[in-house]
Symmetry: C2
Subunit: 289 residues, 2 copies
């Protein structure tokens, strides 16, 4: 089964559990709306790729970890779009959840997806429970306080922020969870995979800052100039366009160099380059390779 099929099937299995006759129907529909159709699914792809490089001896657990991380990502998008944060009217080229349903439903969609993410891990590890504590704590740390994506979002309300700490928490942390969880799901030593995720995550955030500066809202599916509008720390504001592009190239090089020696290293490099192309402004990815 290819990565796309594995990811979409795992997400479908998780979301279907919320769609039974006794479910509150609006919330069930809003959860599906928030998860399908997805974006590039870069984080779960990375998780699957690392697990494959480590042998992937329990593919069901790998898929649960990948789906868990993607559901947490979707939850963060729905909550970040709320009126008290970005007040975004669109996301992934369609109406944002709180505009399509309601603010109340959007809060509950995010809450439910966070819970479903951990539930998916619990179910996926039934046959290999010894791997579950590491997966739970890794993914929780990358999501919550003090260094996860929720902490990253909280930094936007603070007067003094370091760009690197902010990016590391807001985006890097969940990418790091993707690579580390891929190794953990396959029973491999996880720590040597952290740097890869962190660097790709930082690269993704810098690329997003560049996109935010340059692109029109038709291209990204969300209103442009959000960072400047909300006074958020951004790589382009701090480093300028050229500085941000140089930083992005440097981060991608570091990511690829960080791949530990392993049977699937060449294949993994290919997956990373392909994923990079999905988010790096045209013409930059090639130079980093």
């Amino acid at each position: 089964m290819d990565a796309t099929t594995r990811i979409e099937k795992a997400l479908e299995a998780a979301i279907e559990r919320a769609e039974v006759p006794e479910s509150p129907p609006k919330l069930a529909a809003a959860i599906r709306y928030a998860v399908f159709p997805g974006g590039a699914r870069i984080r779960p792809r990375l998780c699957l790729a690392v697990a494959a490089a480590c042998g992937d001896d329990h593919p069901h657990l790998t898929e649960a970890a990948a789906a868990s991380i993607e559901m947490l990502h979707c939850a963060s998008l729905v909550h970040d779009d709320l009126p008290c944060f970005d007040d975004a009217a669109t996301r992934r080229g369609k109406i944002s959840v709180h505009k399509a349903y309601s603010e109340a439903q959007a809060v509950l969609v995010g809450d439910a997806l966070i819970v479903m993410a951990f539930e998916a891990l619990g179910r996926g590890a039934a046959l290999v429970p010894a791997r579950l504590p590491g997966l739970i704590t890794t993914i929780a740390r990358s999501t919550g306080m003090p260094n996860g994506i929720i902490a990253g979002q909280a930094w936007e309300s603070e007067p003094n922020v370091s760009l690197s700490a902010y990016h590391k928490a807001k985006t890097g942390s969940l990418f790091a969870a993707a690579t580390v969880a891929g190794a953990l799901a396959a029973g491999a030593e996880p720590d040597r995979w952290r740097l890869l995720g962190e660097r790709i995550g930082e690269a993704y955030q810098v690329a997003d800052d560049i996109h935010d500066l340059m692109s029109k809202s038709e291209e990204t599916g969300k209103p442009s100039g959000q960072d400047a509008m909300h006074g958020r720390p951004s790589a382009t504001a701090e480093l300028g366009y050229d500085g941000a592009v140089a930083r992005l190239q440097d981060l991608l090089s570091q990511a690829i160099q960080s791949i530990p020696p392993c049977p699937g290293a060449a294949e993994l490099r290919g997956v990373i380059m392909a994923a990079s192309k999905a988010f790096v402004p045209k013409g930059i990815a090639q130079r980093a390779a």
Copy 2:
């Protein structure tokens, strides 16, 4: 160590993890504000009492489960108080989180507490990982979709709701998690403990409906008449005052009768009666005993 000390220490240990120098300070402060000082801590007390009745051979895991359930409860209070739901200005006799901090911080407090709840379980089960899948799925099911407290909150936005299904999800589910998780943490067979939690949870909700109808806001620490104001299903609206009191007595009797034969049964009955007194309107609990 008594139950109160065990619960507060376990919560303190979890919350402290969010209070390191690299934490976003506003969110760290708001999380502590949401958890301390607590209410009656009925759910974690119930969890500890059931674990004790089952031998409590891993007290550290029991405490993690109890703290996890209480953090999920606190998360639900913070999100339920948001302007898009109850728009409550006070909670537990003090200013609600979104009023004391901001709506954005309140959304993040709830999100962070949900994540911290699962993280606490993951840490607590490091030495007994075989118990973790059951704990994660039990607590997740009681929190999320389709039957957990998040689903219960979602039912408030639906036009047609059964009172019993609504109460079961909105309140009963997390009480059921408390008893079932207490058994799971102690390595005991969990299913025979579910009915106890469900009945206590339903009783608590009916008692809350009676309080809501009768009490002044000084007594409960939150504005009274919320249910009627928000058009929520309530036992007093459906059954009248006398009918609701009769239902409450019946639920408490069923709860006590459901306690399975076990070494600590008498002690557990005592804990339940004591906990009941904390939430049942005066004069009703005695008649149920």
